[in-house]
Symmetry: C2
């Protein structure tokens, strides 16, 4: 097997194949991104699943199948070459919706446009789903194809899963992982292809992510047995009738004070950061620049003193949170209509860190509301949520990723955890697999108009060729460890 | 002049004229209700104002004019016959909007339909604005016409004001009253024609109404200087950024606890009910039935023990309130989008009783927010609001109304105050005129689909004929006192 430390020549033929097939890779990327697969709107899902299944076998797999679920189908593929290690590849083929009017390029036109970046012009492919995450999927599959066509076989066996409900909170994935447990249990590690470079080419890597529980609180006269029960009534009745709106305010205010969560035991299962995680935070803190994060979010001040970058990063990585995502009730139109609202609803999410669980947090919030006399306030859990995931920096699959980034003369900034959510807990906690995601490449505006990925890079940002090179290097580095 | 106590024969000719002209009155009512005059949507206002000005002179006035304002025109008319007393008549010609799909009859079709009432079938006229308040306006004008055409002149002089912005909070009326002060200052009392009977024919009269101040509270990252300032950002940022939504919850919860308002000095200018008002409450309490009020509002329980009807009525009449009319912010759609909202807005209203003032209450809320550290939360006053109004039961104009109801063998239930609002304070407090409103007649569903008034009544509910008779009796009773 190729040893990367001595064998750049042995990789040369693969890289040449990648270069020779750039148009093919671009064509296949364009084909996939132009196929709608908008899970929140149930558009194009079945057709896209079939294309992904074909890509699996066309590019690399021995077999692939479209597995029906209670929701959108999951595409499953296998490649077996008798290698020592088996890698589980995770993909998603669904995308967010788009509002065409807000786009500068057609959202499904796969237009190539030049774009200015800090270190020089690049050529970008603009399309919904290009970055999140059809571009990473196709470039990864194309890299596998280049290895297979030049070397005959891959350095690892593969089991590939592409789900079509990531934008819905992956409701069918847990059941799939359970029912396919026999076939997945012999995997050694999990990898999610993604583009981790920022606009300057820097790479942030993450050793896990937070979990999520998302629910609505509903305070209504009908549950309470006081105040209006069926519709908003004339506001003058406040003089002798109760207000579910004020009750909701009271209940919500009992949950938090400033940024402190007052729910009994909410923090009790929060593991403090480990010594190793703290070391990572200290490394990050040395060079961390809060300005770009403030600029992109239009936030002039963090909740933690930003001069103390260590505490700032510790908060991002380590804090469990209780957030109000939305609230509504009563008259919300123009002008001054006086009503006593019969119902107020709030959407809340809690971000979970090890060792919090979704069930535990929901139970504690229920107990808190009951203890404060709000038995009638309903908690409606909106989706299955996600558990947190965690992997160790020392794991082969993680180290292979780190070494690959270093192959490009970059030093990755390694974060103990991403504050966002992903279904990695199914792999890290259920299947007990180490995992990583990446690697080279840059994209932006996922979930927003003008989503893009970089096809031709500049000195700092990898284009499709260096992206695929990074996947090739990663596979050999992982196989060789 | 006709003395009502001996002179039913002298009224007979007027009542005969009313009876002979019922079709004319109905025609003119239909004509006016079918003319749109939807102030919240600025539909048909100018045309309706012209019709009202014509009605004024056609029915009774010597002169009328359409007075332009910064908003919708006000129609002003005068009738002068050298009588001892001058009555100021107040009307509104604007209406609420309608959603045609929700109506059983065309909302602008002026259809006559039979309707079941507790004491027998009636014939109702269904149209937006019929009850609120074009029906009362036309039947009152028609009663004046019948007096004039049979007796040659009215027992009182008249100054008539019809505004076109009542549904918007009467923003132009204060300026009008001020600029027409010279002409209005010689009035002796104010009367607002309305239908006060409920479905069983009972009459509630009111000696005033509460005032109103209506405002929005806006809590935003941009005012606060913390949290997101321009748009909702990804929810995971809660780990290190502040939430304007939680801040709004904290601020609101500082304002009220249960039904107690915690704003410093909010209650300090509340006059306790006078001895006379308390006597009225005791009278009301003896026969007060809370069930219909609970039924119509779909409320199973008052905030005050309903067994104690005296306390219940005291609360309705005497309580100042702070009410949440609506609240919104962040993601309020389907499903589970995680955002950290940059802004939350709440609409609130305070109902004012003597001697609270709008400026005072707004200042106290501002001071309260500042004292609790919420200097950044903005208070946006949405309209001019209304002051409270109060008149004495002993006033001639009020007693004339009471006696008129008794002429129909009914005993009016007299409330010290309506919890709703109206611009009567301009007449009672600015012009210092006693006032009353009524009298016989029934209507319903103002502001709702299928708004109606009763054209042909039953044994208990007055139809157009007895409605007009009540206006005639009222005028003579008032003139004779």
């Amino acid at each position: 097997m190729i040893n990367l430390n001595q064998a750049s020549e042995e990789l040369a033929s693969i890289f040449e194949h990648i270069e020779d097939n750039l148009d093919y890779t671009l064509d296949k990327t364009e084909e996939l991104v132009k196929q709608p697969s908008i899970s929140p709107e149930s558009v194009g899902i079945e057709d896209c699943a079939k294309i992904v299944a074909d890509y699996f076998t066309d590019f690399v797999c021995d077999t692939s199948e479209v597995v029906e679920t209670d929701g959108n189908p999951i595409v499953y593929g296998e490649y077996e070459c008798g290698a020592e290690k088996t890698l589980l590849g995770y993909f998603m083929y669904d995308t967010q919706p788009y509002d065409e009017e807000l786009w500068d390029q057609p959202p499904m036109g796969a237009n190539l446009v030049s774009m200015d970046m800090p270190d020089g012009e690049v050529e970008a492919l603009v399309n919904r789903g290009a970055f999140n995450t059809k571009g990473p999927m196709v470039t990864f599959l194309a890299a596998l194809r280049s290895i297979k066509e030049t070397k005959g076989e891959l350095p690892v066996n593969l089991k590939l899963i592409a789900e079509g409900e990531e934008e819905l909170g992956s409701p069918s994935l847990p059941g799939f992982v359970e029912s396919y447990n026999d076939r997945l249990s012999d995997c050694d590690a999990c990898f999610f292809p993604f583009f981790l470079q920022d606009q300057k080419g820097n790479v942030d890597m993450y050793l896990g992510n937070k979990g999520l529980v998302y629910f609505e609180l509903e305070c209504s006269g009908s549950s309470w047995g006081r105040g209006p029960e069926e519709y908003d009534i004339h506001g003058s009745n406040k003089a002798w009738m109760d207000s579910p709106a004020w009750r909701m305010i009271g209940a919500l205010s009992s949950l938090c004070e400033g940024n402190d969560i007052l729910v009994d035991g909410f923090y009790e299962n929060v593991d403090p950061l480990t010594r190793k995680e703290k070391e990572l935070v200290e490394d990050l803190a040395e060079s961390f620049d809060p300005e770009p994060i403030k600029e992109i979010n239009k936030v002039s001040k963090f909740s933690i003193d930003e001069e103390n970058t260590k505490e700032l990063i510790e908060a991002y990585v380590g804090n469990t949170t209780l957030n109000i995502d939305g609230i509504w009730g009563g008259y919300t139109g123009e002008g001054s209509k006086t009503v006593l609202p019969y119902k107020v609803t709030a959407k809340l999410d809690a971000r979970l860190v090890p060792n919090q669980t979704q069930d535990e947090i929901l139970e504690k919030i229920r107990n808190h509301l009951n203890k404060h006399g709000y038995e009638d306030i309903e908690i409606n859990v909106l989706n299955e949520g996600y558990g947190w995931s965690r992997t160790n920096l020392e794991e082969d699959v993680v180290q292979a990723g780190v070494e690959t980034i270093r192959d490009f003369d970059l030093e990755p900034r390694i974060w103990p955890r991403l504050a966002g959510t992903a279904p990695f807990y199914l792999f890290s906690e259920e299947l007990e697999l180490p995992f990583t995601f990446g690697l080279m490449g840059h994209g932006g505006k996922e979930h927003s108009p003008n989503e893009y990925i970089i096809f031709r890079g500049n000195e700092k940002i990898a284009g499709f060729n260096r992206i695929q090179q990074s996947f090739v290097r990663f596979l050999y580095r992982y196989a060789n460890r």
